[in-house]
């Protein structure tokens, strides 16, 4: 089967793409809008601005890699497409963070789960955070527009056995569950979304909005880390970027300088606050980087009598919000239940233990069924989020401590997952925790989980959703940007990505980021008027 790689085709058509790591001298660019980051926020923004006739330069830290190079091998995909080789961790190493670092950002490597922002979360943003214009009704047309653009819809294929076990367990216990909508077109149900879709079926920014922007004359600067936004008075004059090597560690001696009328920071909820902090922009209340959320996620493994083959098939198609919906937003920690894909590296590093103990689980990989619980953070004083800080070498790191409030939710999540897995027919269940022991009955699992000591670097905690740190709001004393994404203190700066969320979502964030960014970008385009250097489509 020959798959057309839209990146190769676009480059052949004459896309303007600069590899900052390969520059032999400094480079100066000028445009209407510089967009920093090419993920869900930056990608959508670039397309809308380019469509409006504005000259756009997109600066992306990661490499431009297309489907021809997506080979479904973890050991090549993780170092190439993820921040810190998929080994990014919170400051205390307690939480491993999966974050994309490539053109298309997280959308190139995510698992395609598409949820509209839960209405009660949007209502809470109004009630508790004073948002006035971001509501379920206001966002509805933006969701519709994005769903159409990115082919988001129900998944017509039966769930794989890994997802089906979650469904079966919920059914048996009378726990409400649902089917996850996905942003795919012509998906062959392979299961390797996390390593880049080799078929271009996933409607990521890489194959939709970014090609559209590039076809309209936008410039992409890849492998370029923005080190500073340079202000003159209350306006930004230019941004500076340096080429990075494959491991992200080595800065090229040459600088890319982008002058623009306006700057949109879409570098993700660790990268965006980091750029603002490094640039020492006005932040009178010290809000930037604070209230950063993760949906801290805990994991339960089960051995099923039948084969599960959790490495194959659409990775996430079934979910349950029962443990979110049945709790008050500001009550005990709620959690969303989903399943992850299980490939050898991801499985290997997530299963606890070493030696024979670890091998006993690894050698049952085809029978391994895994459920994850994503904790909703940011709604209760017991889950205030973490803080993005800059290390002495300038790299950002997230200081995020698990709290007693979250650990209490983790214990209930372990219990819920184990009960569901036994109800689905598991012969053995193991909460992924260094002190847990495998249980062969629900009764035994319950007793073991109830006495499990919960602490950092014992319970396996992961995150694939970083949110907050540049909260939007009407009040400059409690937020960093307006609900239109405009910085409260710097006239020509916006933030379009998950960092504008005032709390986490309790749902996979991509569709919320797309919709908010589309809304913000459309407003921005209108306020900037006709571009000085806009070009007709190629």
């Amino acid at each position: 089967m020959s798959v057309i790689d839209p990146i190769r085709e676009g480059l052949a058509r004459g896309w303007k793409v600069v590899d900052a790591a390969a520059l032999s001298r400094d480079l100066d660019l000028e445009c209407d809008v510089a967009v920093i980051g090419s993920g869900a926020g930056g990608g959508i923004t670039a397309e809308i601005l380019a469509q409006a006739g504005l000259a756009v330069v997109v600066v992306e830290e990661g490499p431009l890699v297309g489907s021809a190079e997506f080979n479904m091998r973890e050991r090549e995909a993780y170092p190439r497409l993820y921040q810190e080789s998929a080994g990014r961790q919170t400051q205390d190493k307690g939480i491993t963070i999966l974050q994309g670092r490539c053109v298309g950002g997280g959308t190139t490597v995510n698992w395609t789960s598409s949820f509209r922002t839960p209405p009660r979360v949007l209502a809470h943003w109004g009630d508790a955070h004073g948002l006035k214009t971001v509501s379920t009704a206001a966002l509805a047309p933006w969701f519709e527009r994005i769903e159409q653009r990115l082919s988001i819809g129900p998944w017509q294929v039966p769930p794989n056995a890994n997802n089906d076990a979650l469904k079966r367990g919920c059914e048996k216990l009378g726990i409400p569950f649902g089917y996850i909508r996905r942003n795919v077109k012509g998906c062959a149900n392979l299961g390797y979304c996390g390593m880049g879709c080799p078929l271009n079926a996933k409607q990521s920014m890489l194959v939709t909005s970014l090609p559209a922007a590039l076809d309209r004359g936008a410039t992409l600067v890849q492998r370029a880390r923005v080190t500073q936004l340079a202000a003159r008075g209350d306006r930004l004059a230019h941004c500076e970027a340096r080429g990075i090597e494959r491991n992200g560690a080595v800065l090229s001696p040459h600088t890319v300088r982008v002058r623009a009328r306006h700057f949109v920071v879409s570098a993700g909820a660790i990268g965006s606050p980091a750029i603002l902090l490094a640039s020492a922009l006005p932040d009178p209340q010290g809000l930037v980087g604070k209230r950063t959320f993760l949906h801290p996620t805990v994991v339960s493994g089960a051995v099923m009598p039948q084969k599960v083959d959790a490495y194959y098939g659409a990775p996430q198609t079934v979910y349950s919000d029962h443990f979110l919906d049945s709790a008050a937003l500001d009550g005990p920690a709620g959690f969303k239940l989903e399943v992850p894909p299980v490939h050898p590296i991801l499985g290997g590093i997530t299963l606890p233990g070493f030696g024979a103990e670890h091998a006993r689980w690894m050698t049952q990989l085809p029978h391994l069924q895994v459920v994850i619980a994503l904790m909703r953070d940011g709604f209760h004083a017991g889950a205030p989020g973490g803080q993005v800080v800059l290390r002495s070498d300038g790299w950002p790191v997230l200081d995020y401590g698990m709290t007693d409030y979250l650990w209490e939710g983790v214990r209930r999540a372990y219990l819920a997952m184990a009960e569901i897995q036994f109800a689905a027919g598991a012969s053995t269940v193991l909460p992924l925790h260094e002190s847990s022991s495998a249980a062969t009955s629900w009764r035994a699992a319950r007793a073991a989980i109830e006495s499990l000591p919960l602490r950092s670097l014992a319970a396996r905690v992961v995150s694939a959703h970083v949110m907050g740190g540049c909260a939007m709001g009407a009040d400059p004393t409690t937020s960093v940007v307006t609900e239109a994404g405009r910085h409260h203190h710097v006239a020509n700066l916006s933030v379009h990505d998950a960092s504008v969320f005032p709390t986490s979502l309790g749902a996979n964030p991509q569709l919320t980021i797309y919709a908010l960014s589309a809304r913000m970008a459309t407003g921005l385009a209108a306020s900037l008027g006709k571009g000085a250097g806009g070009q007709a489509p190629a």
Binding site: M1, S2, V3, N71, M72, R73, E74, R75, P79, E84, S85, G87, R88, Q89, D92, K93, G94, L190, Y192, P198, L199, R246, N247, G248, A249, Y311, Y312, H343, P344, I345, G347, G348, I349, G353, F354, G355, A356, H358, A359, R360, M362, T363, Q364, L365, P366, R391, D393, W395, V397, E434, S435, S456, L457, A458
Partner: protein, 171 residues
């Protein structure tokens, strides 16, 4: 993984000793040519850890086993080379602790170098770190085990033993 600041929390003496270690235990002038990050001595320490961490899924036959261990150390090296400079420095400090006798004894309880320790002695040290009351030791345990596990299970040679058929063929 330990940072010097965290070490000071564990014991001021430990932190002060570490400052000396880094001077006394500089990487050898000639790095092993196959590696991007490891030097020869760190590579042999890593090679001693691999069969303990991966017991149960490495090939039993001697030649295949040796090759699997070598390839795991090489992939371990590549993995560390892909981490941020700050984390690379922490891994370097971790190896300093594993190599420099007073530090090794104090933090791992191992009298002999890893290369001369038995699998049981290494397994006991990993188990102590795994359940340690100090976060820094639990972090060190997780760094060692996860880097080795990622290095091995990313290698197609590991897949038969765990029943992973590999990615589907396209077309």
């Amino acid at each position: 993984m330990p940072t010097r600041r965290q070490l000071l929390k564990v014991g001021i003496a430990g932190g002060l000793v570490l400052a000396g270690v880094r001077w006394l235990d500089r990487p050898q002038a000639v790095a092993a040519s196959n590696y991007r990050f490891l030097d020869e001595r760190s590579a042999s320490a890593a090679a001693a850890l691999v069969p303990v961490v991966l017991e149960g899924t490495l090939p039993g036959e001697a030649v295949a086993r040796k090759r699997a261990i070598d390839e795991t150390v090489e992939a371990f090296d590549r993995a560390v080379a892909g981490l941020s400079p700050a984390v690379q420095k922490e891994v370097e400090e971790l190896f300093s602790i594993l190599r420099f006798p007073p530090m090794r004894l104090m933090f791992t309880g191992l009298w002999s170098p890893l290369e001369e320790s038995s699998a049981k002695e290494i397994g006991d040290f990993l188990a102590r770190w795994r359940h340690s009351r100090f976060e820094i030791q639990r972090a060190g345990y997780q760094a060692i085990t996860q880097l080795i596990q990622a290095a091995w299970y990313g290698n197609a040679a590991s897949w038969t033993a765990i029943g992973y058929p590999g990615a589907p063929r396209l077309g």
